[in-house]
Structures are given as structure tokens and as C-alpha cells.
Amino acid sequence: MLLRHTPKEIPERKALTVNPAKTCQPIGAMYASLGIHGCLPHSHGSQGCYAYHRSTLTRHYKEPVLAATSSFTEGASVFGGQANLLQAINNIFTIYDPEVIAVHTTCLSETIGDDIPQIFGKAESEGKIPEGKYVLHANTPSYVGSHVHGFANMTKAMVDYFATSNGHKEKCINLIPGWVEPSDMKEIKRIAAEMGVKSILFPDTENVLNGPQTGKFNMYPKGGVTIDQLKKTGSSRGTIALGRMTSGPAAKALDAKCKVPCEILDLPIGLKATDRFVDAMRKMAGVTVPDSLNLERGQMLDIITDMQAYFYHKKVALVGDPDQLEALTEFLVDIDMMPIHIVTGTKNKAFEKRIKELTADVPHEVNVKSGGDMFLFHQWIKNEPVDLMIGNTYVKYISKDEDIPFIRHGFPILDRIGHSYFPTVGYKGGMRLLEKILDALMDRQDRDATDITMELVM
């Protein structure tokens, strides 16, 4: 019993997080930054922060993750980090030669009160930013929000720094994918291309964090949205933002700054959410949905039809980030499963309301908590066991202790591969999710079958 220290009783806790279901803002900013082509993320704080972010992202993707740090000392903590950041900008452009440096702050530099735009101004006037190179920044205090906000803030910074309107509305539409995997970003681009829609997707970690084995170590892999593309987002016909929390702020900023209208949708996980995404694209771009996509949709629907008996009223517990959980919950309800425990570590009022709406017709009591943790999640499961759990790698402890099947989804996944290469968004991704759910449930049924009840055909 790895988590033998988790009791069934749930006393009220005020001042404490146990077994977190979130982490801090900067790692989200770092992940988003890696979705810009030729970008070196930079952590303005002490040395440990970025070492942890790099290690965690490396463990999740099994890819090299590069970033730089301001490497704060006691001096910087007293007198401010301006000198460190100026030196860092100079060193980075001189030695590592990126196209762009994406600076995110930390609890340390935020509390000291470093003014990043002012420091950028000084770097510019001192000629430390070479011609044709760029810097951008996002404020990501670790004591506000979670990794989800960090991703959202850096994505918004891409708009704040680069989006410009050329006065025309081009045929292109902007796609903001939210915090999803490189494979998902690729799938979103593929769906747009399949529909004949010209798009700019940002951030874009495809081919950055799922690169091939080439025999070379590339500091700046091929993928990522270019600065030129980011500039053009201001002249697009419209924006589709996927994920209310991770993509919403950037889409609104683009509307405010360049008058690019936006639709803010759920992540396209599951049938309905994908339908809404495809439909929004159809309307915005003025195209028709091609047969090829209808075929994929039909196939996904076919699986749900064929296997309905196995989904029926199975109880599911979910832990993860709000955008993912909202889409997943809707999907599970649609395939007649019962999501009954839903926890996110990220505080967000709208989340609980939305989940309650989505699960209004679930014939079971539903627990939902934003700002919760894995400890609470586990306690809920102890009190009301489930048939399946969905969450990041840390759920494996609960899975082992409670002997409940579990599928990995979210961040971080430290112990399996697949998420980098195979999407869970769109109809194809939906089929993969269905396969994973069925594998978990049916493997369990086979395992639990006696010699007498073992079924060949399922």
C-alpha cells in the first residue's frame, strides 16, 4: 500500500495541499514557449526552477528540453534581477543564437518586482537584442493559479508581442490548440487541412517535442510557429480557441488588439466537442465538411454503437486540468458512462458549474472540486469506488492500492509513451480514447473472470 497514509475519512483541510493535482505557472509558460520556432525559453529566477521544468518535460516527452535561467543569487534577490536578465539576454543571443527568447518570471522575481518590459527596453537600447531577433515575456508568479495559467499567459504574450493587423482580413484562421500534446496539435492542423482551411496554429510543439531520431542534437528542432506567422495572426479572418482556460485569454487579446473575432470552444475531445470544432471552422472559413471527415466521424460513432454495452453506467473518476476535464466529462456522459469524481488542482469557479451542468443527467451523485488534490481524489474513491480512473501518472499509486484500472491522460505522464505521437483530439483521437477505455475495462473483465465465466467473444 503505497498510499497507506490516505484515510477514508475526509476532515476539512484549509492550509495544506497533499499530493498535488497541479504545479506552478512557469512550467506551462515553458511548454508554450517551446511551441515557437527557434525559441529558447528563459526562466527569470533561481536555478532550480528551470532544472525542474526541464526534467519534468524531459520525462514526459523523452526529448531534450532546453532553456536558460537568470540564475539568481542572494544579491539579485536583494537588488533585483535586472543585471542578471541583461547579461542573460546578451549571453543567450551570443552563444545559443535563438530566433527569440521567451522570458517567464518566477515567484522570486515577481516578489522582488522586476519590470521585464523595462529591462527589455534597456537591453534594446544597449544593443543586446540583435537585428531580426526577438524577446517576449509573460508574468507567471508561482503563487497565483497553476501550470494552466502559465500556459495561457505565455500564449497570450505571443499575441501581445507579435500580432499585428495589416488592415485586411486574410482567408486564414487562427487556431489556438490549448495545452495538448504535440500529436494533438498535429491532428488539429490535419483536420483544418482536410477541410481546406488555411490556418495558423499557435503555440505548436509538433516536431519540437516529438522529433525523430536523426543522429543529430538540434537545439532548435524544425517545428514551432514562426514569428512571421504570429505577426500575421492579427490579419486572420477569425480565431478558434480550444480550451476556455488555456486559449481563451489569447483569443480575447487578439480580438481586442487586432479586431479578430473569436470562438472559444472546448478542447475537441469526444464526438460533440469535435463536431463543434469542425462546425465552427466550417462557418468561419466558409467551407463544407469533406467526406473524409464524415467517414472518420461515422467510424467513431460505429465504435460507440458496437460497444455500448461495455460503457453502460461504468463509474469513472477523473483528475487533471479544467479544459481537458470538461471535454472528457461531456464525452463520457455521451457514451453512457458515469463520471462521478472529478478533481482539478487548478482553482476555477466556472469549472465546477460547467461540470455540474454536463453531469446533470448522470444517474448518480457527482463529486466535483476545483482547487482539490490527489489526496481528496483518492479519498472520494475510497468512499465510492469506481470502475475506471483517468489522470496523469501519479494516479498509478491509487490504481495499485485500490486495484482499479487506469488510463493515462494529461500531464505529466512519466511512465508510458504514446501521447507524443497519437492524438486524443478529433474523431481519430476519439477512437483512440475509446480503444483505451475499452482495453482497460475489458482487460479487467478478463482478469477477473473465473475459468467458468471467461468469454472468448466480447
Binding site: 497514509h5 498535488p20 504545479t23 529566477g45 525542474y52 532546453l66 540564475s71 508561482s142
Partner: protein, 450 residues
């Protein structure tokens, strides 16, 4: 790749043996803007203390520091698993403004009530140092109220390097040492220091000492227990591995309790055997039978693995290796162990080596070997390619870099999955190195076999 430039200020941290007078610049903070592989003070403290399985580890700060260190080290416990939980005060904006002391107090009290730990460690993170929470007085207050040791760990991230974190951890443990009863501890007892029981390594080492007729009072800190640490001053000798992390405590115990220490390494046949013989020699005068048992042990163990190692050596002979580790002391054993497998180390470096370490490293290395302090991935990949290495030994951040380059890899850090300590560990190491260096995957790589 060969044209990468080196930061001018970093020239003094890179040395090619045989080229210039040796004057390694080390033991300093990384440059701003560098892509270093290092971590922070908190990281140092956390990795050292975390294996103490029956203690409460509460991280006082925003959530990140707790999330990133939640059970990542793979230190095994034979009993309690409290160390595998992640506890954080999860400081919010209002706490930064008004201070986090109340939250810390409330968290500590409720956790101690719930789990009855044998001791509690409270880690101060960057922000705590900045907002000035007086964690010392809170710890004193709670210790008094709850009757267990509550120890502040001053591990604010910006206050130095990972090594300063080791020191902060040692300072915290020093408060426990000497507070337990030492009756019944035999004069042939030792403490194992700097062994963290990753993949069960401390169990292997402990068994060796027991076969020599010695008792182990406390392991610092693998499979660690508070009670054992409290009475560890009853041991006759401290045996210190991974010198970077535990030397400070060993020196403290020598000064305060007169307990001598020996620096050892459990990696590779040569150093493993030397460690056991050094310890046996310490007891030689009064307990000559220890040496006899040690000789038997070493003979049996070496006999069991030598023929197999020889077969690996035949196939690995002449291949080149790079090593980049946390503490330099580990590098010494690694060089010897790789040599015993017939391999040549052509690139060696560490995150936190001292001047003294690098002098030793230089003497051990062959001419032409590149020695680096606090290197970045560009430097590591540049020299790996230039030197034509077939094996890289490093940690989490080096693995994907090596694999992208088509170089075999062995994790000798937190992510080792097999015990690499002791004689059986050497065999595991040889197997792992052999498997990766000769993996058929390299035949598919675009550049062919390196």
C-alpha cells in the same frame, strides 16, 4: 555542431588534459543565460532528506517545489512510505503579502496529528527567504507542543548551489544526531552515509557489512529512520559515500562526538573492495576476524561475477565513454569501473565538483580527456561527437541528448532502475552498458553505427 562557440566566461570551466596548465574554475554559480544542467539549494536538501521514510517532509512555498519533487528519486523503504507523499503549504498571493507563518503552523499541526511522524522537516523555498517567514520559531513552537523534533531546512533556492542544499540538510540532521540512547550498540558498529537506497542499493551494502560481522546503526539516508539517526553517534565509524552530500555531517560528527570517517565508493569492483577493506582495517587492531571475513566476502563476490564481466569486457574493449555526474567523487569510481570494462573515458565532468575533486579527476584521466564543470548540453554533445563516444553516463536531462546523437546511455542518477552498487551492481552496470552500446537500434540510425 563542431562550430559551437563556448561562452568566454566558461573557458575556465573546460579543460583538455595535456593542453594547458590546469586551473579549473568551479564551485561557483552558473552564469546568467547559461543552459546549465544544475539544480538549486532546495533540490540538494530535498534529495538528501527525502529517503527518511518515517519523517514528515513539508515544503513551505508555492506548489511547484512540492510537485516537481514528489517521489521522483526512487529511494526504497522497507517499512513506512510517508516520504512518498507530497505535502505543501501551497502559498498563494495573499500569503506572500501577509506572510505564510500561520499557514505553516496550521499545516504542521494537522499533519503531525494525523500521521504521528517521528520527526518533521520543513523546507524553506525561495519565496520564504524573501518574505521573511520565521520558520525557525514556528518549528520550535510546534516541536514543543507536539513533542517531536521539527527541523527547519534552510534551502532557499537562490542561496547558493545544490551543494549548499546538502549542507542545509546535514545541518538539519545534525540536530537529530545525539538525541537517542546508545546503550546496546556494539563497538563494531558503523553508519552508512551518502547512500540513498535507489533501487535497493543500501540493502546490498548493508548486507556486506553485516557479513563482515559489523552492525549498521543508521543509513544516511536510504531506507532511513529517525530513531536510527538519533542514536547514530553510538557508531564507531562513519563510512561516507557520495562525499558531496554528507561530508559536512561526517565532519560535524567527528568534531562533536569524535567519530572518525572514511570516504568510500561502492561503485566498481576496485572501489567496492577498497571500501570494505578500508573499513575492515579500521577494526583490524581489536577485531582481526573482521578482516578475515572481509577477505572471504570479497573473494566470493569477485569470483561470482568476474567470468561474466570478462565476457562483457571482450566486447566493450576500446569503446569510448563520456560521463557527466552530479558530484565529482562519483566520476572517479566511474572511470575505474569503465576501465575495468575495457572502455576509455574521454569526457568527464560534474555539476558540483570542487577544486580538489578536479585535481584528482585530472590525475586519473588520460591525456586528451576533456574535463568540464557545470557544462551545458551543447558542450556535452559537441565533445561527445568530437571524441567519438559510444556511451554516455549521466542523468535525466542527458539521456535524450545522448539518444538523439545515437549514443548508448546509462543512468547513474535518480532514474537508475537496477542497483549499480556493490558487486552485483557492477554486473548490472556492465549488462546495462553492454546492452545500450551494442543495441541493434543503432543499425537503423541514419548515420550508421558509430
Amino acid at each position: 555542431m563542431s562550430s559551437i562557440s563556448i561562452l568566454e566566461e566558461r573557458q575556465a570551466q573546460i579543460h583538455t588534459k595535456g593542453t594547458a596548465p590546469f586551473n579549473m574554475s568551479c564551485d561557483k554559480k552558473s552564469l546568467a543565460g547559461s543552459v546549465s544542467q544544475r539544480a538549486c539549494v532546495f533540490c540538494g536538501s530535498r534529495v538528501v532528506l527525502y529517503p527518511i521514510a518515517d519523517a514528515l517532509h513539508l515544503i513551505h512555498g508555492p506548489i511547484g517545489c512540492a510537485s516537481y519533487t514528489w517521489d521522483i528519486r526512487g529511494s526504497l523503504s522497507s517499512g513506512p512510505e510517508l516520504h512518498r507523499m507530497s505535502f505543501s503549504t501551497d502559498l498563494q498571493e495573499r500569503d506572500i503579502i501577509f506572510g505564510g507563518e500561520k499557514k505553516l503552523y496550521a499545516s504542521l499541526v494537522s499533519l503531525i496529528d494525523k500521521y504521528s511522524p517521528k520527526a518533521a522537516f520543513v523546507y524553506a523555498t525561495c519565496i520564504v527567504g524573501l518574505i521573511g517567514d520565521d520558520i525557525d520559531s514556528i518549528c520550535r513552537k510546534v516541536a514543543k507542543e507536539k513533542g517531536i523534533p521539527v527541523l527547519p531546512v534552510h534551502s532557499e533556492g537562490f542561496k547558493g548551489t545544490k551543494k549548499d542544499g546538502y549542507k542545509a540538510a546535514c545541518d538539519a540532521m545534525a540536530n537529530l544526531v545525539g538525541t537517542g540512547a546508545i546503550e546496546g550498540i556494539r563497538p563494531t558498529s558503523i553508519n552508512i552515509m551518502g547512500e540513498f537506497n535507489i533501487a535497493g542499493e543500501a540493502w546490498t551494502i548493508r548486507e556486506y557489512y553485516e557479513r563482515m560481522g559489523l552492525d549498521v546503526v543508521s543509513v544516511f539516508t536510504g531506507d532511513g529512520r529517525v530513531e536510527n539517526i538519533k542514536r547514530s553517534h553510538g557508531a564507531a565509524l562513519n563510512v561516507v559515500q557520495c562525499s558531496g552530500s554528507m561530508m559536512h555531517l561526517a565532519q560535524h560528527m567527528k568534531a562533536k562526538y569524535g567519530i572518525p570517517f572514511k570516504r568510500v565508493s561502492y561503485f566498481g569492483i576496485e572501489d567496492m573492495s577498497k571500501a570494505l577493506y578500508d573499513v575492515a582495517e579500521f577494526f583490524q587492531k581489536d577485531y582481526p576476524e573482521v578482516m578475515e571475513k572481509t577477505q572471504t566476502l570479497v573473494r566470493e563476490e569477485v569470483k561470482a561475477i568476474y567470468p561474466i564481466l570478462k565476457r562483457y569486457k571482450e566486447r566493450l574493449k576500446g569503446k569510448k565513454a563520456a560521463i557527466y555526474v552530479g558530484g565529482a567523487f562519483k566520476a572517479f569510481s566511474m572511470i575505474k569501473a569503465l576501465r575495468s570494462l575495457g572502455m576509455d573515458v574521454v569526457l568527464a565532468g560534474s555539476q558540483t565538483g570542487t577544486d580538489e575533486d578536479y585535481q584528482v579527476l585530472r590525475e586519473m584521466c588520460d591525456d586528451g580527456t576533456v574535463i568540464v564543470d557545470d557544462a551545458n548540453p551543447l558542450e556535452l554533445s559537441k565533445y561527445s561527437i568530437e571524441k567519438g563516444v559510444s556511451l554516455f553516463v549521466g542523468g535525466v536531462k542527458e539521456r535524450p541528448m545522448a539518444f538523439k546523437l545515437g549514443i548508448g546511455f546509462c543512468d547513474h542518477n535518480h532514474e537508475r532502475k537496477l542497483s549499480l552498487a556493490g558487486y552485483s551492481g557492477m554486473l548490472n552496470f556492465a549488462k546495462e552498458v553492454y546492452a545500450s552500446v551494442t543495441s541493434p537500434v543503432w543499425q537503423f540510425a541514419p548515420y550508421g553505427k558509430r
